[in-house]
Symmetry: C2
Subunit: 243 residues, 2 copies
Amino acid sequence: MQETVLTGALEDYLETVYQLVQSRKLARVKDIARARSVRAGSVSPAMRRLADLGMIRYVQREYIDLTPLGEEHARRILARHRILTRFFREILQVTPETAEADACAMEHSLSAEGMDHLTRLFEFLRVCPDGRKFLSSFHSCPRIQPASAECMLHHRDGTEAIDGKGGTTRSVADLKPGQKGRVTQVSGEGPIRRRLLDMGILPDTTIELERVAPTGDPIWIKLEGMQLSLRRKEASLVSVLAA
Amino acid sequence: MQETVLTGALEDYLETVYQLVQSRKLARVKDIARARSVRAGSVSPAMRRLADLGMIRYVQREYIDLTPLGEEHARRILARHRILTRFFREILQVTPETAEADACAMEHSLSAEGMDHLTRLFEFLRVCPDGRKFLSSFHSCPRIQPASAECMLHHRDGTEAIDGKGGTTRSVADLKPGQKGRVTQVSGEGPIRRRLLDMGILPDTTIELERVAPTGDPIWIKLEGMQLSLRRKEASLVSVLAA
DNA sequence: TAATGTTATTAGCTTTGTCTAACATGAGCG
DNA sequence: CGCTCATGTTAGACAAAGCTAATAACATTA
Ligand SMILES: [Mn+2]
Ligand SMILES: [Mn+2]
Ligand SMILES: [Mn+2]
Ligand SMILES: [Mn+2]
C-alpha cells in the first residue's frame, strides 16, 4: 500500500489480468502465462508482488481478482495501450502487429504530459476539419506508399514556403564540394531510408559535401563533425536547401 | 561480435560515450557516470559488456573509444533521440525536459517501422503546405492553452463532418439515463483531463449513462461493461455523439 | 477409492543493472 | 622518493525477471 511503483512488467501483468477478468470472468495463472508468453513459473511470483502492492487479491490456487486500486491502474494502462495503438495504426499507418508492440512498450514509459498532448493531437486529427484534411493529404501522399515525382514537387513547394526567401532545393548529390545545405527531407523507402535516418540525416541537420570519388560514386559528407560516406543513389534521396 | 543485442541501458551508455567523445574528445568513466546519473562502480562493468559486444575499445584505466560498429549504433540511437525529442517538443509542444525523458525512453523500444513513419509525419508537418497549415491550426487551438467556447464550436463542426449524417453532439452530462453515445472528444486540462483519459474515456468509445444521483451530482456511466462514477463537472467535459 | 492428468507453486539458477565500500593505480607535489 | 588525492576497478549485496525441473494440490475419471 506504499508508493505504487509498478514496473513495466507488472503493469503488463495487471493489464492481462484485467482483460481476462473482463472477457472470461476469471484469470487463471495458465491463461496469464499464455497471454504474456511466459512460463507459469514466472507468473506466480509476479502475482505475489502485485498482491504485495495491493493491486490484486491473491489467495494461492484460487482465481485472481483485482482490488479497486488495481482496477484503476489496469484501466489506465489499457487506456494508454489503446490510444497508442490507434495512433500508430490510424495516424501513422503502421502494421497492426507492430503498432501493438510499439504501443505496449510505450505505454509504460510515456509521461502523463506526453500522453496528454499526443491524445490531443490524435483527437485534433480526427475531429477538426483542418486535421482531417491534413490527415487525408498525409495518407494519400505517395511517399507513404510508393515514391513519385509528383509528390516531390508538392514537397518542393512546401519547402520553399518554409524559409520564405525561397532558397534553391536540391539533392546532396548535386552539391559542389565545400558547399553546405540544410536537410529538408529524406526520401526513399524501407531499408535505404532507414539507413539514412540511422546515420543521423534528419530534417534541419547541416550537411557539407566534402569530396566526391573520381568515378563519382562514393560521396563523402560531413555531418555534425563526422565524416560519412554515401552512395550517390542514397545522396540523391536527401533534399537540402543550399545554405 | 555476435548477435548485437544491446539492452536499453547499454544503448544509453553508448550514446553517452559517443557524445562525450564528440564534445570533449575523450570519455572518462567519471563523466559517463555523471552524464547518466549512476555511480562510477556501475560504469566499469557496463564498459566491459560493451567491449565484449565489440562496441568500444576498452583498455582499463585508459580513455574509451568507439569501434566503427559502436559508432554506427551510437549514431543510430542519437538520431532517434533527436528526432523523437523534436517531435515531442515541436509537434506536441511538451516541456523540454519531459520531451527529453520521453524520447530517451522511447528511442530503445520503438520499431524501425514506427520510427520511420513517425519521421515521415514529422517531415510532412514541417515541409508540406497542408501539414504546416494544420500544425499552426493545431498549435493555435485554445485547447492546447486554455479552453474556450470558440474552439468548442470549431470542433463541433468537425465532429458533424465526421459522421456525415450530422448526429447531435452533446456532453455526457446531457444524456438521459439509458442513452448511449460515442465519445468524440475529451476537453478540460491537466489532472482533470488526465483522469478522464486514464479511466478509458477515449475518442470512439461508447458510453451509456446509467443513472444520476438524486442531487444530480455523481453520475454513473457504463464504459465497456464497467461501471464508473463521474462528477457532473467531469462529465460535462466529455462530448459524445448520441447513438 | 485409487489412478491419472492438469494446474499451480516452489526451489534453484541466470542475466541485467544498480548500489556501497574496499582496494588499486597513477600523477603531481613536497 | 614517498605521500596524497583523484580516479577507476572489484567484490559483494540486492532486486527484478525470466527459465527449468521438481513437487504439491486439485479434479476427473475408472
Ligand atoms: Mn506493455
Ligand atoms: Mn499493453
Ligand atoms: Mn535512452
Ligand atoms: Mn537517449
